[in-house]
């Protein structure tokens, strides 16, 4: 409960700070709209040439794009501000201030900062998903919605764990502020349904760097193409990755020789 209250205070603080910079808001909104348009043109070009890719047609691929944009918005607003700050703080030695606070350091380091303007992407992503479902004239059943939600929740945890794993390496490779670029480069594959890629790549994208669980599988669940096995795989993967990343974080902290001590 205490942590939830703290989270509320953090987010309110960030929102108030960002409201001071209104020009930023306009520019961010424009850029977001632009990139969403770009994603749509991207799949538009492909389906201009062919009616289907595998079993996915334009409207189904639209659902994947919607989820891609939605998650991009979530990650950019909840996690990314913290990554940049933390890498900088480790480099400057001010990370000690995070460690000396009477709260769990992982909680503080990964969730303190929040970028409200990126939530526009979440809204746009949700709108695209809505449009896609309408065009398909599909009303997901309760079970399908539950499966989709479970997979989306595990997707958030998976994305968080992957970020945390990458972020923890900053304790050793101090100048890795561009590690986020590597994540985004791999995340780009999530724009398209994973069945588009050759078999071996599908395996990699499902279990090694589970991008498929972030965009394709939630979309497939809502469309009723996914069985209970996949949902359990997603939840198990999320739990496993979260545990692994938390353990790695604790390991890193034990071996952290900070700037002063």
């Amino acid at each position: 409960m205490r942590y939830l209250k703290l989270l509320a205070i953090f987010y309110k603080n960030c929102l108030l700070t960002d409201l001071e910079y209104r020009a930023n808001f306009v520019m961010n909104l424009l850029t977001s709209v632009f990139w969403v348009g770009f994603s749509l043109i991207g799949i538009g070009v492909f389906f201009h040439q062919r009616a289907t890719i595998g079993s996915w047609n334009y409207d189904k691929a639209l659902l994947v794009v919607g989820l891609f944009v939605l998650f991009e918005g979530l990650i950019d607003s909840l996690f990314t501000p913290n990554i940049q700050r933390m890498v900088e703080e480790i480099r400057l030695g001010t990370f000690d201030f995070v460690l000396t606070r009477p709260v769990n350091s992982q909680f503080l380091a990964t969730l303190r900062y929040f970028s409200p303007w990126k939530l526009a992407n979440v809204a746009m992503g949700a709108a695209i998903c809505r449009t896609a479902l309408n065009r398909l004239q599909v009303s997901p059943s309760l079970a399908q919605l539950a499966a989709g939600s479970a997979l989306m929740a595990s997707a958030v945890v998976i994305a968080y764990s992957l970020w945390l794993l990458m972020l923890t390496t900053a304790f050793w490779f101090v100048r890795i502020d561009n590690i986020t670029e590597l994540f985004w480069a791999v995340y780009e594959t999530g724009r398209f349904p994973v069945s588009v890629y050759p078999g071996w790549l599908q395996g990699v994208l499902s279990f090694v760097i589970p991008v498929a669980f972030i965009t394709t599988f939630p979309a497939a669940a809502v469309l009723g193409k996914v069985g209970a096995a996949t949902v359990f795989e997603g939840l198990a993967l999320a739990a496993a990755l979260f545990t692994a990343s938390t353990l790695f974080w604790r390991f890193a902290l034990r071996h952290y020789s900070s700037a002063s001590s």
């Binding site: 850029t31 070009v45 040439q49 561009n178 050759p198």
Partner: protein, 262 residues
């Protein structure tokens, strides 16, 4: 001038070697052409798309990856930071124009890529039998010259956007819009030949094609002589335009920078 460049490049080569982990990450993050290749290959599995069959797609995207690796520019971020935080001031005291430092850093990085990733891509091209046929010395030379021009165009345009930081705080956001244009009309999302005619006309007049797609088109050898002449002329024209923009913006910006009492 040559001596100062050699000295600068030596210095930045040390920096590149020091941050080789970061450099490798930048190289590895350049995967979008490969992602697009995977998607287009899936489409081409049922038959050629336009005049592109599977082999042609592989050829196109591997060469595009090579050109992209050799034309990456990040100067807008450095400039934005230098202007905003006042780091530009010590650089202005030096006897050479600050732009040369940025050029030298970029060239040191390109040297790194020339030694690491370019041979790798060339080997993959040879191994998959995708090396463009009848690519004689003349075409290779033109390809190299066009790639150099593409780099210059990209550098000058990003530098000009960076100088806007003298006036506004959102130059990075503007650069993002420009970058999206490059992805679309520079041949990354799809080879420009696969776009409808109207889009291709736009692509001929905008600078994006000349920053990435043109060298690839040249090496693939599918441009008719008249198309080639027009394309090279447009590339030269855009080079002139961006160079002029850079000079004007830089001079005006420095005056403003001085006025704020840096």
């Amino acid at each position: 001038m040559i001596r100062s460049y050699i000295a600068l490049i030596k210095a930045y080569w040390q920096v590149v070697l020091e941050y080789r982990a970061g450099m490798v990450i930048w190289i590895l993050s350049n995967t979008l052409p490969l992602v697009m290749l995977a998607v287009w290959l899936a489409l081409a599995a049922e038959g050629p798309v336009g005049r592109f069959d599977a082999e042609e797609f592989i050829r196109y995207y591997l060469i595009l990856l090579l050109v992209r690796q050799m034309t990456t520019v990040w100067v807008v971020w450095d400039l934005d930071r230098e202007i905003r935080l006042g780091e530009l001031s010590p650089k202005l005291l030096r006897p050479i124009d600050p732009i040369h430092q940025h050029v030298a850093f970029n060239w040191a990085d390109k040297l790194f890529r020339l030694l690491t990733v370019v041979p790798l891509i060339a080997m993959v091209l040879a191994a998959t039998g995708a090396w463009p046929e009848q690519a004689g010395a003349g075409r290779l030379l033109l390809f190299a010259a066009s790639t150099l021009a593409a780099w210059t165009l990209r550098f000058l345009s990003q530098f000009s956007i960076g100088t806007l930081s003298f006036w506004i705080t959102q130059s990075l956001a503007l650069n993002e819009l420009f970058y999206a244009g490059l992805l679309m009309l520079g041949g990354v999302i799809a080879p420009l030949d696969l776009f409808p005619d109207l889009v291709r006309q736009w692509a001929t007049y905008l600078p994006f094609r000349y920053m990435l797609s043109l060298p690839v088109e040249i090496l693939l050898g599918r441009l008719s002589p008249s198309d080639l002449a027009l394309a090279l002329a447009m590339q030269a024209l855009w080079l002139l335009l961006w160079f002029t923009a850079y000079r004007l913006l830089w001079k005006a910006g420095l005056k403003r920078y001085g006025a704020v009492g840096a």
